[in-house]
């Protein structure tokens, strides 16, 4: 059955991210192995069943057929939306920091010369941080 896994791995070697590839290889290999088992149960010799399964399976482009074009469109849209979300979060972050800085410095005597805006700046970093992380995931 290593022959099947090798065949599937070779088929996908130049495509997909590492995580997606690993998952796809596992699923395609399982499905092919199930076919081999069915053929063997029906009386086909193991080697012949493996050969037949591999021969009938299809090519790399048949795999890619299942993912295009609707999915790539959906993915592009998601990447675009997340990029906009990330840029918006950067803008929002600087607006919040700007306001905090303004109030902090404007009323510095009232706040007993404590530069609390730094806490706000660090605390709100989670927002662009999260949005960047989501954007990276979508791109991947």
């Amino acid at each position: 059955m290593n022959k099947i896994k090798k065949f599937v791995s070779n088929l996908l070697k130049d495509y997909f991210s590492e995580d997606d590839k690993k998952e796809l290889i596992a699923i395609l290999t399982t499905s092919l192995e199930e076919k081999v088992e069915d053929l063997v149960e029906a009386g086909t010799p193991v080697d012949e069943a493996i050969e037949k399964s591999i021969k009938e399976f299809g090519s790399t482009s048949d795999v890619l057929d299942a993912f295009s074009p609707k999915d790539s469109e959906y993915q592009k849209k998601m990447i675009r939306e997340r990029k906009h979300g990330f840029l918006y979060s950067i803008l929002g972050y600087f607006l919040i920091i700007g306001l905090a800085l303004f109030f902090n410095l404007q009323f510095i005597a009232f706040f007993q010369h404590i530069y609390w805006f730094i806490v706000v700046a660090i605390g709100t970093l989670f927002w662009p941080g999260t949005m960047f992380f989501r954007y990276r995931i979508a791109k991947k």
Binding site: L24, S31, K35, D38, G58, V63, A66
Partner: protein
């Protein structure tokens, strides 16, 4: 044999329909399509299994490892609630497309 673009455009609906009936494993889906269409709807298993993976990643179907009748294990797929809703949407689109084609093609259209 039917055009491969048409096959690709409808593969989601076919997989979801077969899983609405009962949980099935990958090769069982391929066999079922083959036998129901008398080989007229030929789809490469590479495309079929990849489409199954894609549907699972979109949470339209889920999978579990089940026992075979005489030992061994198989990865079975089942349709999720999202999958059923998506299938209903696809059917709505399909009916609408059929009406549109009927209106445009007129007498050349055969049910």
């Amino acid at each position: 044999m039917i055009n491969s673009d048409i096959i690709r455009g409808n593969i989601d609906a076919i997989i979801l329909k077969l899983l609405m009936e009962k949980d099935r494993y990958g090769y069982e889906l391929a066999n079922e399509i083959k036998s129901r269409t008398n080989d007229r709807f030929q789809i490469k298993e590479a495309t079929l299994y990849s489409a199954v993976t894609r549907l699972e990643s979109r949470e339209l179907i889920s999978s579990y490892v089940g026992e075979k009748s005489h030992g061994g294990q198989r990865r079975y797929y089942r349709i999720t609630t999202f999958g059923k809703a998506y299938f209903a949407e696809l059917m709505k689109d399909f009916c609408e497309l059929r009406e549109i084609m009927k209106a445009i093609l007129g007498s050349d259209y055969h049910e």
